[in-house]
Symmetry: C3
Subunit: 396 residues, 3 copies
């Protein structure tokens, strides 16, 4: 049996009936079977691409992408995923400087979605706003569909909000699963999701939140480490704790990078802004106070600078499991001595892990494509089998 | 018989032989049959999309869009229309700050059209320039085709010029036809195309001109209302008057919003700049006098502000036919108390009409697609039948 | 036999086995057979388009374009070529103001190439940097493919570097071949590649370099003319001289436009910046000295202005072979009395040659498509035959 047929077989045993026509906001909205389905379809699509087989399930259609924050990686991943499935991408170039009022979001949502099959949205910079924007947008197109404005209701792929970054955390986990030779080998592995110093800007919380909210579901021992004050959202910590309880893993928070790294199997040192500062930023933003935002940004970086010793060094790496934990990052990283004077990681560490880091990133287009596939294809098992039997992508 | 087959049947009775390989500048260039054909094909394409059937008539090809003014709605409508038919969109990002010299337009036209099937152009800000640009562009590609530079001559869809905005007025009329249950029900309906106060900027004339130039062809009683000085182009008024005469409707101009709204079946309150100011803007533009343009813009808004009472209130709406005229707008509207302090329409009126407004907008991609379809397909009747019989758009 | 079948026949006699999965940096990397293959496939694709036949060899896939310098013509040519073959274009919008460090290029290369079949790069402004960037990029994706990051290795089309501009010079030569009725008629033709005065900016050297590096391979007498100090890269001159020696043509350099034009069959008067200034620009760029770059640019234009008499006049044209040499330009040209007060060419000369100039440009999309075709199609002879036998591009 071909690899893709095996994946189809595996998929046929999962309960995924709620995925059809559904949206993807957060990993913790989804059942274990649903997540397993995404990993399985992602692997199948990758296998088909390796075999140069077509994975076009659409004859035409649009994927609309809305980036309310800069992006290269996710933008290309989304475009690649859409292309893989036969959708053309149309970018909505919104001015980033104004929070859209409810009515405006509703109007825009309908106006750009006439032929949309998928909507991908990144809105991650403002705590309390990102998810709300996505929800308002999707409520509007749902209503638009019910009212006959839109012939078909597009589905959402959350390309990063203020709460979760599911395409990142799922790609990261796909990498971990392959690295350790299967999801069954993750139990008991220690994961250090830790804050690290960055001189660049106050980064969103959705990556650490996404990681602790997802990795705790697989029986791993997840440690979140950060300096005092750099808390993430309490609701997500509660989800992480509950997940760990249920999966037979553990979740704990510490204020020491050393403690987190000790004997870790996986380390994910990455900067983010303190929750309190993020909340303040939202308030300033809503008040249209750009000077206040700029001042806050300076304050943030000054505060970051107190913790320059939170950096992933060779010395720290040597304290991990057998001195060779898997180093992870969502990229781009602030690399000490390469992209900045002092940053999240020493160049020699980063450099040793370039291959795994690129491999980690390479799962994202397949994860996004799998999310779309499962939301838009009525019988995904049959579809995978048919794709496996069909014509090559390049005709000659 | 399926709905699309019925549309094909209807189409077969219209005289549309001149549409093939032809351009779309203004609705008044087109015969009644040709306009009916566009409405019919638009309805058929919408029906096919509802049934999730493919409407790809091209295996490959490009739709080039040139927006010399900002656009979200029309941009996405054009992209959606192209995608629907199997064309990829390529945007030409022109600097908007210089009027291109004749020679340069000719060169650009050929350079971007090597694989173009369709050209969509918006150039609406300068009276006397917009249409001229489109004409120069199309003359150049026609010559380029004759001279063997271009293997095929692309066709034009006017996405708004200084004179007409046919994709808007046709989408508006499609909405009206469906709202009143058929084109045969439009006779005698009173339409109030009226100026309304806007604090934002001096808006183009092509929407009111497009509406009076088109709606007068269907036996309706069209009233154009505006404060003194806010005239539209005289040539278009003459066309409107001649149309009304021929269709058994009427056309008249008044300087009172109240008079226009009285017993109206349809109201379209929308801001535009005075014709004289528009002409002055063109002169300043040609002279490269940006300071002059900025000063004129201030003058314009100051003048607008004398007519803040030209606004669509609940009180005014209550004077329309049975107090429930169809409220129309090309969007985005300046909404009093929502997007501005004082604008074109009261929030409570706008809010009641959101559904019809979105529905109105939803016709535009289908109207554009129908224009392309009829210009590029040699036997559109056979094509519609074949699409109706063919494979679904989503394969699984 | 159809024209395309004849082209396929011709192709079958060429030794092109090294083209598959290979990159296109410079014409002088390629054998005579390989260049002949590109001209042949370009002609075949053009014939198929004339017949409205599909040339889609891909069912899906991406062409990534990276323009580190402005471009309209080449951008649309690349997009047209990709569309012709069934690839969607995705633009990478890089900030042009920073030379990317090695590591960053490597990261970017992998991150944007997950589904890429083709990479098109323009990086022409900095001597010693453009080719290096392309090479670094391609080394990175090759490594990425070997390491399992990328399922497939994309191939490169050089859309202009600091050394060569092969899609331009090949399109130019395709034009010349057709103009003179076959490649066999080029022997002994005199080509004047000459510098001309421009008031606009310090232009890249890759066009004159591309022309002398390519045209010398066909037995032509190539003369490079420029004022003292406006040298091109010595390495390319050596290649030109060696080519001429081998092909039975000649290559010589003069400091007189008159001498170059005398009895020329082809004239290509075009501005470029002095090599020494280009080197200085690179140094300033690497030092991040924008003020220095601006000062150098002024110096450059001041120096250019000493040679305002280097311009293509009717008088000069009358000294060419029978007074009617073929005038060539890569466009846009600086046209005296039209786009500037004094420039590369007199308006009356330019105007007489508009048709041939557009025709010249029209070969570029086909040349690019042919480069991609031969790099991605395993059996191009069979592919051409199959395309010729297949369905029309427009289905109705």
């Amino acid at each position: 049996m071909s690899k893709t047929k095996e994946f189809a077989e595996k998929l046929s045993k999962l309960n995924i009936e709620n995925m059809y026509e559904n949206d993807f906001y957060w990993t913790w909205d989804k059942t274990d079977d649903e997540l397993a389905a995404i990993f399985t379809v992602a692997d199948a699509l990758r296998d088909l691409r390796e075999q140069n087989k077509s994975t076009k399930i659409f004859d035409s259609g649009l994927g609309i992408s809305i980036f309310r924050d800069n992006s290269t990686r996710t933008r290309f991943s989304f475009a690649s995923a859409c292309n893989l499935l036969g959708l053309e991408v149309q970018d909505l170039d919104e001015k980033k400087s104004q929070i859209a009022h409810g009515e405006t979001v509703r109007e825009t949502a309908n106006m750009v979605s006439f032929m949309a099959d998928v909507i991908g949205i990144r809105d991650d910079m403002f705590i309390g706003e990102g998810h709300k924007y996505q929800k308002t947008f999707m409520d509007a197109v749902t209503e638009g569909h019910e009212d006959g404005v839109l012939e078909q209701k597009p589905t959402l792929v959350n390309l990063q909000c203020d709460v979760d970054h599911p395409t990142q955390s799922m790609a990261d986990l796909a990498h971990v699963i392959h690295y350790f030779g299967g999801v069954e080998n993750l139990k008991g592995k220690k994961v250090a999701m830790t804050w690290a110093y960055s001189p660049s800007y106050g980064k969103p919380l959705s990556v650490p939140q996404g990681i602790i909210g997802l990795f705790t579901r697989f029986g791993m021992d997840v440690v979140l480490a950060h300096p005092e004050g750099y808390d993430v959202m309490g609701e997500v910590e509660e989800i992480a704790a509950a997940n760990a309880e249920k999966s037979g893993g553990s979740y704990k928070k510490v204020n020491s990078m050393e403690e987190a790294f000790k004997d870790a199997d996986i380390v994910y040192p990455k900067s983010w802004a303190p929750y309190a500062a993020m909340e303040k930023r939202t308030q300033l933003y809503q008040a249209g106070d750009q000077a206040g935002i700029d001042a806050l940004e300076k304050e943030l970086l000054a505060n970051n600078a107190k913790f320059k010793d939170w950096t992933c060094t060779e010395e720290l790496m040597s304290t991990t499991k057998d001195g060779k934990a898997l180093y992870m990052h969502c990229l781009p990283a602030d690399i000490t001595g390469l992209s900045c004077e002092a940053g999240e990681v020493e160049n020699s560490v980063f450099n040793r892990y370039i291959d795994p880091l690129y491999k980690e990133a390479s799962y994202k287009p397949y994860i996004i494509a799998a999310m779309i596939f499962l939301a838009k294809v009525k019988d995904p098992v049959a579809a995978l089998k048919a794709l496996d039997d069909a014509e090559p992508r390049k005709k000659f």
